[in-house]
């Protein structure tokens, strides 16, 4: 039976152990570094697998290869933090250079006939403008027409890839203007310029997210758009800008890639978007928005690239790389899930 005591009741039961303010290890603070030990372990494995691993050439090579993927991840991370996603980045990386080159390349003489509408030096700004335009178009679809962002950008992915193939007639474009190729192949202080630029952009993006009001606002928008709106944040405008910035970054990655290899290949960036998402999620960016840091994303990129490098050095037969690639993404995902101690949604 229930006891029917009359109030006020005195606490006869012994006081519970007062909820001690246990000095909890601030896991959240170290979440961004959860992949650092993984990278370290990969380094050790690489060293064991092959003496060539720890050479300057190899390491710089790994980082150089990380730059293009890294810029895509940077753009995607900003978009994911704002609670959106953009699949079309992997097509922008190919389309933007092709469109820009198409407008500036000479109409005769080369294998690829351009329009020669604009002087050669405009290729870089044009390319970036195309990236911004693609991002803005995504923004129009997602924010104005309110269509599903996943499918809309998936459609853009296919459409833009088709546009690239149509314009380039399915061929690689070589002999790109010197101004266009410079950033991708120059060395500054013995290290590829692309690496400096990529690091600088990550640092810039990281401080913008951490220290600028509009950067902080992205977390608010991604975390709860309604609350952000009620707090006076211009949600749609900022999201739109972020989508455009993502496109610009993808276009810029296209410039670096083109310079690096000296030509725009027809399949430039094809299938990258899965790596981009994998790197972002492994790096602690939430697909639901509002969580993650660019440092984490960067470690995600490095992890993926190191794994590929170690596999190559270890002499994995090429026919098996695709299988291992996928497997490693899943393993890395699981590891980061438990090192960060958070569920990934």
């Amino acid at each position: 039976m229930t006891e029917t005591a009359s109030p006020p009741v005195t606490d006869t039961v012994a006081k519970p152990p007062a909820p001690t303010s246990r000095p909890r290890i601030d896991l959240a603070r170290w979440r961004d570094f959860s992949l650092v030990p993984v990278i370290f372990v990969l380094g050790v494995i690489g060293f064991i697998v092959s003496p060539a691993f720890l050479t300057q050439d190899n390491l710089i090579g790994v980082i150089q290869q990380s730059t293009e993927l890294g810029l895509l991840v940077l753009g995607e991370a900003l978009i994911l933090i704002s609670g959106r996603m953009d699949l079309s980045l992997e097509s922008t990386i190919g389309l933007a250079p092709v469109l820009a080159l198409w407008l500036v390349m000479p109409a005769h003489g080369a294998r690829f006939a351009g329009l020669e509408l604009l002087p050669a030096w405009t290729a870089v700004p044009l390319c970036l403008a195309v990236g911004a335009a693609v991002g803005a178009a995504n923004g129009f679809l997602i924010l104005k027409l309110r269509v599903n962002g996943f499918i809309a950008t998936l459609g853009m992915l296919t459409m833009l890839r088709g546009l690239q193939v149509g314009i380039s007639e399915g061929q690689s474009i070589g002999n790109v203007p010197e101004s266009f190729a410079y950033l991708g192949k120059a060395d500054w202080l013995g290290v590829p310029a692309a690496v400096w630029i990529c690091l600088a952009l990550f640092a810039l993006g990281g401080s913008a997210l951490g220290y600028l009001r509009h950067g902080r606002a992205l977390y608010a928008i991604g975390g709860n758009p309604e609350a952000a709106k009620a707090a006076g944040i211009r949600v749609d405008r900022l999201t739109w800008i972020v989508l455009a910035v993502g496109g610009v970054l993808a276009a810029f990655a296209g410039i670096l890639y083109t310079g690096h290899y000296g030509a725009v290949s027809a399949s430039q960036g094809n299938g990258w978007i899965f790596q981009v998402f994998a790197a972002a999620v492994i790096g602690g960016i939430s697909l639901k928005g509002g969580r993650g840091t660019l440092f984490g994303a960067l470690t995600g990129v490095l992890t993926l690239q190191l794994v590929i490098n170690v596999m190559t050095l270890g002499g994995v037969p090429p026919l098996w790389t695709q299988f291992l690639n996928g497997m490693i993404i899943i393993i890395a995902l699981v590891i980061s899930r438990f090192t960060s101690g958070e569920t990934q949604d």
Binding site: P8, V9, R216, Y219, N224, A227, A231, G290, R291
Partner: protein, 581 residues
């Protein structure tokens, strides 16, 4: 109207001289989460046919007990028995479903599926193929058995909150459960809906179903329940019959403080009506079709104005239009004489309108982010030069807010998801106050907050006004409106009455329900019919006609044809309220 019935029902359950068998009996339940003790030797007994209230402040251990009683959580120690039999084993979901069920605040139905499907989810009978006709027929019978008026073929998302709760209750009962736990069932219902819910619950109790009723509204506890159990700080404090337990004593048991200290009714003497200064907020003809009729409203400095109205009366829409969350169709808003661009939150905030939105989870907080970040969301432009936000200044600002509003948190860096409801709401208010607004618009500021936090929150609103700003409280809770100097009752989108500080509960509730206090018998039926399945414009029309006869008429001319619109909007908003998570 519930009072009279309550007495009889109590007598019935108490007087029947039931055997000592209990619907559920929990003894010595202990549950720890890491270092936190969620339940410390808690016990609870609910008898068949009893309506048992479980009250306590946020964090008292109510939710943990509920998950223990429904088999979601296994206690570290203690026993649970149902009708004398030991509780089913862990993981035996089907067996637990036959014992107890909880109707959560958050609906556990699948909104896109039909009522029938939800009722028989994962237990469709007969063969592999689902026979829809038979399923619907069985659903219809089940609903009829418990007197639930819902079309089995309707989709859950098209139902109102209240019908959805009934469907959940019916589903639980169809499993054989004889203990239904209701977690804040009235939080999103209007008064008429609450009455219907209570009526239905009384009927079910007569059939021997026991209810464990969790609510922050003590009034409802008195109205519906015969026994109340109070938890505080993870422990059982008190179990007593409701009759004979004074509300002050109940509050005292919940808060652990002296009776009366926690609640302070505002009397006419401390309002000092003459103190109100120049107008800080003024609207002229502000209107939004389908929500509210043209509104002229003035809030003066030092004044707290209440906009009282039931769910769907349009008062929340008025608030959202004022703060820019909704774009009004017409009319002007001015703050301290300066016009404000309508429909734009940034402009409203810049003009000096602080906003406490209706639902802190949906539009108030970014749950995963820190207290500091949430509290400074509106002032990021003041936290550093050139658009930067300096972490040190953010922390400092947040620390000031935490101190001044007495927010219980481990520090500015704690995610708001880790705070109790009352403290979360304080963070929302902190955000609104961060810019030192000229006028604070608070929509249902104490929604889902325990008694003590309620008083603290309302104290903050009062303080804002005392320091020379204006405040507008938009609510349907009388406790919220008690701090107001002036209360305007909103019914079907128009202000129908105005009260000074000395209003009585009855007259205000009557005005909110569109019942002229001096009116005839027809008004009662109007209140009861609203939101009912069919209800065309008729009752609304009748009520609107009554406006002219209101004791303190608002002075708004009745707009021809508006009555029908308002009626439609009421159902419309009821619907949207319902689908909101």
């Amino acid at each position: 109207m519930g009072e009279a019935v309550k007495g009889e029902a109590d007598m019935g359950a108490e007087g029947a001289g039931r055997p000592v068998v209990s619907a559920v009996c929990a003894e010595g339940i202990v549950k720890r989460y890491g270092a936190t003790v969620a339940l410390d030797g808690a016990h609870l007994t609910v008898r068949p046919g009893e309506a048992h209230a479980l009250v306590g402040r946020n964090g008292a251990g109510k939710s943990t007990l509920v998950s223990v009683l429904t088999g979601m959580t296994r206690p570290d120690a203690g026993t649970v028995t149902f009708g004398g039999e030991p509780a089913p084993g862990r993981g035996d979901t089907a067996a637990w479903q036959r014992k107890a069920a909880c109707v959560h605040q958050k609906s556990m139905t699948v909104p896109e599926l039909t009522v029938a499907e939800n009722l028989y989810l994962n237990r469709f009978q007969g063969g592999r193929a689902i026979r829809w006709r038979a399923l619907r027929e069985r659903a219809r019978e089940l609903l009829a058995e418990y007197g639930v008026e819902a079309d089995p073929a309707a989709r859950i998302k098209d139902l109102g909150v209240e019908q959805r709760q009934f469907v959940e209750i019916a589903r639980a009962l169809s499993f054989g459960a004889r203990l239904i736990i209701l977690d804040e069932p009235t939080a999103r219902l209007d008064a008429a809906g609450i009455d219907r819910l209570f009526g239905k619950l009384r009927g079910l109790r007569a059939q021997g179903v026991a209810f464990l009723f969790i609510s922050h509204h003590l009034q409802e506890v008195y109205e519906l329940c015969n026994t109340v159990t109070v938890f505080r700080d993870a422990r059982h404090v008190l179990t007593a019959p409701v009759s004979g337990l004074a509300e002050d004593d109940l509050v005292a048991a919940m808060t652990g403080e002296e009776a009366g200290a926690a609640r302070r009714a505002r009397t006419a003497s401390d309002t000092a009506a003459g103190r109100a200064g120049e107008p800080v907020l003024r609207t002229e003809g502000l209107t939004l079709a389908g929500e509210f009729a043209p509104l002229d409203l003035t809030v003066r400095a030092g004044e707290v104005v209440g906009l009282a109205g039931a769910t769907g009366s349009g008062n929340a829409a008025i608030g959202e239009a004022l703060v820019g969350l909704r774009t009004p169709d017409g009319g002007r808003i001015a703050v301290r004489g300066r016009p404000v661009r309508t429909g734009s939150v940034p402009h409203a905030i810049d003009a000096g309108i602080g906003c406490v939105p209706e639902d802190r989870h949906r539009e108030g907080l970014i749950l995963g982010r820190s207290v500091a970040e949430n509290a400074t969301l509106t002032v990021t432009d003041q936290l550093g030069p050139l658009g930067t936000v300096l972490p040190s200044r953010t922390r400092e600002f947040a620390a000031r807010m935490i101190a001044s509003l007495d927010i219980k948190t481990t520090g500015p860096g704690q995610p708001v998801s880790g705070l109790s409801g009352g403290n979360q709401q304080k963070v929302v208010i902190a955000r609104a106050l961060a810019r030192e607004p000229s006028v604070l618009v608070a929509i249902r500021p104490t929604n889902g907050v325990d008694v003590k936090s309620k008083d603290a929150l309302l104290g903050v609103v009062r303080e804002v006004a005392d320091r020379g700003s204006g405040a507008l409280i938009i609510s349907d809770e009388l406790d919220d409106l008690r701090v107001c100097d002036r209360v305007l009752a909103v019914f079907h989108g128009r202000v129908t009455a105005e009260f000074g500080s000395g209003w009585g509960d009855h007259e205000l509730v009557a005005a909110m329900e569109g019942v002229a206090s001096g009116g005839g018998g027809g008004d009662g039926s109007a209140g009861g019919d609203e939101g009912g399945a069919g209800g065309a414009g008729q009752p609304e029309g009748a009520a609107d006609d009554g406006d002219a006869g209101q004791p303190k008429g608002s002075g708004h001319a009745g707009h021809a044809g508006d009555a029908g619109d308002a009626g439609a909007s009421r159902r419309l908003t009821d619907g949207t309220e319902g689908t909101a998570p």
